[in-house]
Symmetry: C2
């Protein structure tokens, strides 16, 4: 018996077969081709799943359920994708459609939630009963796990750490708000700030260019570049403050930092830890682990398989 985990991105579909202990048996990927429409995307998912099963000498009947994480907002109970701009989907009944196509029970959730589940099951979050995972990328995604379960909250979309307001009259965010964390600390925000500093005449060994990304800034900071270090420090200071506020409210046992920048390691983790400790001050009465995500791209697959497993367990308990 195994589970199908699907990480559906705007560019790539990643999928894998995972056993009930959370071991990834095989994985594969194909382009999403979102522009061809939802039917074509589901067809490619089904083909990829079939290929993976055959490669393992399995029939589709050996797969007991599927989970899928998508980049957008999901009504989990209904399995409805409310809005997924990268896929051009709005109010798309993904669970029903995919369940019919795969002939399997399907669970759907937001990709940041799925990644948090994956890290809890098999990654940096193993052994913790509650955790907050923050994923730094174009924006800032997050997943809050309390008592082993994703906290979805009254609005159903779960934790949206990227949009907590950090500065009252801060930068305009695409969500319509101002001073949202992701306007200050996402990979995009780091690049924008670095360019602003350069435009203001400040110097760096790192050159601007169309491919300049947070990765290059973090590498330069790790090599001692002063301007890059200031940019990273600025982002980390707001991440640390936002995490401290989250800790003062819900007190997760661990914090996990995911996304590309987290893979740069201590150059970003160390200042996040420093500002978190500074913001918590006397309220931190014991150490609080701040860990880099460990599963990388596989978190989405493994977490989606976990979603499927929880769906099956939930069904059995009725």
């Amino acid at each position: 018996m195994c589970l199908l985990g699907i990480d559906l991105g705007g560019t790539t579909i990643k999928a894998g077969l995972v056993d009930i202990k959370g071991r990834l048996l095989v994985k594969g990927q194909v382009p999403t081709g979102a522009a061809e429409g939802a039917g074509a995307v589901l067809e490619r998912i089904a083909t990829l799943a079939g290929d993976l099963a055959r490669g393992q000498g399995l029939a589709m009947q050996d797969i007991k359920g599927a989970g899928i994480g998508i980049p957008g907002s999901v009504e989990v109970e209904k399995g409805l994708v409310h809005l997924a701009p990268n896929l051009f989907w709005r109010d798309y009944p993904l669970r029903a459609e995919l369940a019919a196509r795969l002939n399997l029970p399907v669970a759907v959730d937001n990709d940041a939630h799925v990644a948090a589940l994956g890290e809890m099951w098999q990654g940096a979050g193993q052994g913790f009963n509650s955790l907050l995972m923050v994923t730094i990328g174009t924006g800032i995604g997050s997943g809050l796990i309390i008592d082993g379960h994703i906290r979805r909250g009254v609005f159903g979309y779960g934790a949206e750490m990227g949009h907590v307001k950090m500065v009252r009259e801060g930068p305009q965010c695409h969500c319509g708000g101002r001073g949202c964390l992701e306007t200050l600390a996402s990979a995009t925000a780091m690049v924008r700030r670095f360019r602003e500093y350069l435009a203001a005449g400040q110097s760096s060994r790192l050159q601007d260019g169309p491919d300049l990304g947070a990765r290059e800034i973090l590498t330069a900071a790790a090599a001692g570049d002063e301007l890059a270090t200031r940019v990273v420090d600025f982002a980390a200071s707001y991440l640390g403050m936002a995490l401290a506020n989250a800790v003062l409210l819900v007190g997760p046992e661990a914090i996990i930092i995911g996304g590309g920048p987290a893979q740069a390691g201590e150059v970003i983790l160390a200042p996040i830890r420093k500002y978190l400790a500074e913001s918590l001050g006397a309220w931190q009465i014991k150490p609080l682990p701040v860990l880099a995500a460990r599963l990388g791209n596989e978190a989405g697959i493994i977490g989606a398989a976990r979603l499927a497993l929880e769906l099956l367990e939930h069904r059995e308990s009725f």
Copy 2:
């Protein structure tokens, strides 16, 4: 069968007998006399409890358990009061001592947690499975309830909304941090700000004086005083922003505002709702109730009785 609920304050001990449906049968109060030491305080609690029982024609054996809320930090599992400055207690084993004195099982928790439980059981929070209660007073206390239970978090002290950082280089807080919500929005902060405005030459119909408190400022604001209105608006703006951030993280079904200022009603609730909605922006996809606490002084007694009930239920399930 009934429960004893005790609200132990620095000045007054309030206690009541509550039936298992949460109805307050009788209540009474005596001075705390904290300066005489913990033994004397416990003696007064026991005498008050005996008097209440006798007044109802009950024997102490009819009381099945006691709960007590205290103004300080508590290690709930151990029933240990870590620090309660108003009582001059540090590392005081309240549960063990009070259980021995009353000959009853005793549950201990922080008073903000107990008030949140009381409001959930019998007050403004009835019917909600999750809620965030914020109590505005000298400081800002808070209790977060998730899935019907107080969330105590990794550090055990639960939600500390009063100390989330709202302004990086904000006013110094007694906790050692800067820009904590309670430096911007507590009753104390409102009075301080009002006096600063007066000292800067701004005019108000409200006069300064040794007894000036948030109550007078709120009354003046309700009567249209411009300076008082600005002071209330400033506090509400940070309360609204902090609450929005909490909603984006854990999404409680309702928010309850307690403490003296909340009793002033719409003059403070309306701007809190306005700034909460403004901060949430597009993230608020349906109405979110922001309610005034309803139990007033009785929340501490009724919530403490609820603590006792949960303790008994927990014991029975083993």
